[in-house]
């Protein structure tokens, strides 16, 4: 897609037909608003997405985030904003190239072009005030950029966004986002009343005056679009008869899941991109009987949660990669002493502080293996925003049932992506049971392991006769420090056996597509939508490709070897590092594969290949498609022929 001349614009694709009122009917559209940070692009885009969801469209929004809080204005690397994908059907990922972009300056657009965000024919609605900038340098940059964008085949429309807003406010920098929202509403035939209602919600805290001002800007943008951009009109028919929906991002879904699971304590330390879960809880968690503890550090956060859980209260800690590294000692204590605990990890780019705001699935192996000694824990990953909600409830139950830590993986893609999903109806059984304070049954030991399953019931402080001292040292069934070598062997066996017990309750994963073929693609986490879309396109092209998506990573879902045997090749698609197979010095033996591939190979002894990168971006369906086509058509394309 990218050429040596700097061109990074793909050829257009997509279905369309003529619609009523001159609007072109399309099954989907991808819209971006890009700006310097702090110009309200995300607020406009989120609102646009919400209005579209309320009109019955499938929606996926993803924030475009620069790594710095306040990057220099008008810089390529400073591109901030949002992408909104709207469709007649359910949307599961951010898609490929955008159909339309609103840009508040030309430099940020360069940044997005470099990231292959657009194709030939993408409409660019560009703020034109720079053409009249008092700074000659800026004028020159702008003029050259417009020429370059047109050369690349973009459909550039220059327009006086700020000038139009000047009628309403002295500093249009702060208001043009709502003008743009109005423009988008007119282009895509959005219900203006729904937009006005949404503005009231968004600006509720700012008061009636601000709401009115923004509604005026919305109307002005709408009128401008109707009169000046009517040739761009697109109709995206809504889905029919969908069940009641909610719309939110993954971190909001985690927060609501925490509340719906009856969690009692959430202890955390701020870390991007996990922190906003706590923002959503901060004002509301107490209403569901929970408390949010902002600890002094990551270690104290998990320690506080472990303490609460030991005392019979359901507890959870939330972090990202660097925080997970700090928490591993407590995680191994929770394994050793069999303390139920939910740890939510919203992954970001690594290693070290890495890419704080970017997408990566780099914590899988740390989650599964990272702690001292042998540390069997349950590791699961949400693949959708809806799963972010429901998996917290599952994780809490598993933690208590199996008396062990459960790690729930999400990532920056789910954290900031916004999508509608069927509205959950909270159930009493989702809540934790009240903690037991009845007298402890005589003769039952603190770790009275069932030898077959490794499972046992724990005494809770306050239970008469249950007094025991929990210890991280190797211990006996009575929780006494073990001095016999066999005692440690036995304890490790019992704790490990719980994972086998749990795995025996899991179902074989569902295959998307034919149960046999040339290639099986395996994914986990937030890549589900992009992989499914790529695989659907491959299947439509007659390729014998199927996919499956894992939710449980430790223990792995059962039956994988049998499934793999029915395909000529098996590969994972992931967002984490792997050595390209054709790198110099890389051999079949020393090749460091993507994390799920390594895990599956070790568990199944199958020759599982992988394709992954660490660009920090969600995967585009087209990139997956192209990679797989390349491999299927190649006679010696690495390990997959």
């Amino acid at each position: 897609m990218s050429g040596t001349d700097g061109s990074s614009v793909a050829t257009p694709a997509g279905k369309s037909s003529g619609g009523a009122n001159g609007a072109v009917v399309k099954s989907e559209q991808i819209v971006e608003i890009v700006s310097d940070s702090g110009e309200g692009a995300q607020k406009a885009g989120q609102t646009f997405g919400t209005i579209s969801a309320k009109m019955g469209n499938g929606v996926w929004t993803v924030e475009i985030i620069p790594a710095e809080i306040k990057p220099p204005a008008r810089s390529k690397a400073g591109a901030s904003g949002i992408r909104v994908r709207i469709a007649s059907d359910n949307v599961t990922n951010m898609g490929d190239e955008a159909d339309l972009v609103v840009a508040f300056n030309e430099q940020v657009l360069y940044g997005r072009i470099e990231q292959h965000a657009y194709k030939k024919g993408t409409v660019v609605l560009l703020e034109n005030k720079w053409a009249a900038s008092p700074m000659a340098e800026v004028q020159k940059q702008y003029t050259e950029a417009v020429k370059e964008f047109k050369r690349l085949g973009l459909d550039v429309r220059e327009m006086p966004l700020e000038e139009k807003c000047l009628e309403f406010m002295p500093d249009p920098r702060l208001g043009k986002n709502m003008f743009v929202l109005g423009m988008l509403c007119s282009i895509y035939g959005r219900d203006l009343q729904k937009a006005a209602d949404e503005i009231a919600v968004v600006f509720k805290k700012k008061g009636e005056k601000v709401i009115e001002l923004n509604r005026s800007l919305l109307q002005a943008g709408f009128d401008y679009g109707r009169t000046q951009l009517s040739d761009l009109s697109v109709e995206i028919p809504p889905r029919k008869e969908i069940p009641p929906q909610v719309v939110m991002n993954g971190n909001q879904a985690l927060a609501l899941g925490i509340m719906a699971s009856g969690m009692d304590v959430v202890a955390m330390y701020p870390i991007t991109p996990a922190t906003s879960v706590s923002h959503h809880l901060a004002g509301t968690f107490h209403r569901a009987g929970g408390i949010l503890h902002q600890a002094e550090d990551e270690i104290a956060a998990i320690g506080f949660a472990v303490g609460a859980s030991y005392a019979g209260k359901t507890a959870c800690t939330i972090t990202s990669g660097p925080g997970l590294a700090l928490k591993t000692e407590f995680l191994s204590l929770a394994v050793m002493a069999e303390i139920p605990l939910v740890t939510i990890i919203v992954q970001r780019g690594g290693p070290s502080t890495g890419l704080p705001t970017k997408v990566e699935q780099g914590e899988l192996l740390t989650a599964v293996f990272g702690a001292t000694g042998d540390n069997p824990k349950i590791v699961m990953a949400a693949a959708t925003i809806e799963e972010c909600f429901h998996f917290v409830i599952v994780a809490r139950k598993l933690a208590e049932e199996f008396r062990m830590p459960v790690l729930l993986l999400s990532d920056a893609n789910l954290a900031t992506g916004v999508q509608p999903f069927p509205r959950p109806e909270p159930q009493a059984e989702w809540l934790a049971s009240p903690f037991d304070q009845s007298p402890w049954q005589e003769g039952v030991r603190a770790y009275d392991w069932d030898h077959k399953t490794g499972m046992s019931t724990r005494p809770i402080p306050g239970q008469v006769g249950g007094e025991y001292v929990l210890t991280g040292l190797a211990h006996t069934e009575e929780s006494k420090v073990a001095y016999e070598p066999e005692a440690n062997q036995f304890g490790c066996t019992m704790r490990s056996r719980k994972l086998a017990s749990f795995q025996s309750t899991l179902r074989t994963p569902v295959i998307n597509g034919e149960p046999e073929g040339d290639l099986l693609v395996i994914g986990w986490g937030s890549t589900l939508g992009a992989i499914d879309e790529a695989v659907a396109n491959l299947q439509a092209d007659g390729r014998k490709v199927s996919s499956l998506h894992l939710r449980f990573l430790s223990p792995l879902e059962p039956g994988l070897s049998e499934i793999f045997a029915r395909f000529n090749h098996v590969m994972t698609v992931e967002i984490n590092y792997s050595d390209p197979a054709d790198d110099p010095l890389v051999t079949v033996e020393n090749r460091r594969r993507a994390q799920l591939a390594r895990l599956i190979r070790s568990r199944t002894l199958c020759d599982v290949d992988c394709w992954s990168n660490v660009h920090g971006q969600p995967l585009h369906p087209r990139d997956i498609y192209d990679e797989i086509i390349g491999r299927l058509d190649s006679t010696n394309g690495g390990e997959v022929k």
Binding site: V246, T284, A288, H293, A311, E329, G462, G465
Partner: protein
């Protein structure tokens, strides 16, 4: 056999706990270790306050003194190096009915867990913290501790430690929201008992630094003070820690110190060649974190479900 009890036998209340009710496993400290004195003082306090064993949790980190929970017949949590305090706070946060005692050493509290120490003082939760300060790492065999006196010969500083010791009492007095700071010594059991009992009664985090000798590595640590009783100063005050008159009489050097006087407390914590024991600082009007974390304990499933439904409705389309 006489089945009927004589009518002159006084019936004990059903929950009359004795010292033995708090006896846990046999303590494996070195003979002569000050930890034994603390253990027996705590058991006496438990009995005297009739703390139900199932309602007490002894929390510790790692080290000799952190073996403490194993020797109590209550609930216990023997966790990680330096992390007793976050665990204790987490337990207390949602279980106001439990009495939390923390056993932590000078390495555990003032070195590997120092960050938690600062913040636990600031949270000021209703727990009793006993700092077993023997100025050395015992369990791992004679390494320097942050409170080792300058020049102490240890396994990690064979020519003597280079730095002046950290003063945990002075440091604690400097932490925001501090509410109770006392010092005592392992060789005066009545004072040890009185101090820990006063700490237990305090609402908020009570921090008691117990000066003790390690019989193996620092047996002569306090010889100058033990050999010259005038160097050991008993703090007295009507708002201070009350000791029996017979005990008080034995002190040759007494100072009246008002525990609300922070400046005086800081001066008394930094005496050269002398040691002040008793209540250095007490502020009963500090913010207590438990009051925030105890929110909503009585909420039932119906209330919770209602709140969750309302929250979900906010995202409805």
């Amino acid at each position: 056999m006489i089945k009927k009890e004589a009518d002159w036998i006084q019936e004990l209340p059903p929950n009359q706990y004795t010292i033995e009710d708090y006896d846990g496993g046999e303590a494996r400290w070195c003979p002569g270790c000050g930890d034994f004195a603390v253990l027996s003082a705590v058991k006496r306090i438990c009995r005297d306050n009739q703390i139900p064993p199932e309602k007490m949790v002894a929390v510790s980190g790692i080290g000799c003194s952190s073996r403490f929970p194993h020797y109590m017949n209550t609930y216990g949590f023997h966790g990680l190096h330096g992390r007793a305090l976050p665990v204790a706070c987490g337990i207390k946060a949602r279980r106001p009915d439990l009495d939390i005692w923390v056993a932590t050493g000078d390495g555990d509290c003032c070195s590997i867990g120092a960050g938690h120490w600062i913040h636990a003082i600031r949270y000021n939760m209703n727990i009793t913290v006993m700092l077993f300060d023997n100025n050395v790492y015992g369990l791992t065999k004679n390494q320097s501790s942050p409170t080792s006196p300058q020049g102490l010969v240890t396994s990690t500083h064979p020519s003597g430690t280079w730095l002046p010791p950290l003063n945990p009492t002075l440091a604690t007095l400097g932490f925001t929201n501090v509410s109770f700071v006392a010092q005592t010594v392992d060789w005066n059991p009545p004072h040890l008992y009185a101090t820990l009992n006063a700490a237990y009664q305090h609402k908020g985090l009570s921090f008691v630094r117990i000066m003790q000798r390690c019989p193996t590595f620092t047996p002569n640590l306090f010889d100058p003070i033990i050999n010259d009783p005038t160097r050991l100063i008993l703090l007295t005050h009507e708002n201070g820690i009350e000791v029996e008159p017979a005990v008080e009489k034995k002190f040759k050097n007494k100072v009246v110190h008002d525990p609300s006087d922070m400046t005086g407390a800081r001066d008394l914590s930094t005496l050269e060649g002398k040691l002040a024991i008793g209540l250095l600082f007490h502020d009963p009007n500090t913010v207590i974190y438990d009051e925030f974390t105890n929110h909503g304990l009585d909420m039932d499933a119906g209330d919770k479900l209602k709140a969750v439904r309302e929250e979900i409705a906010r995202f409805a389309i």
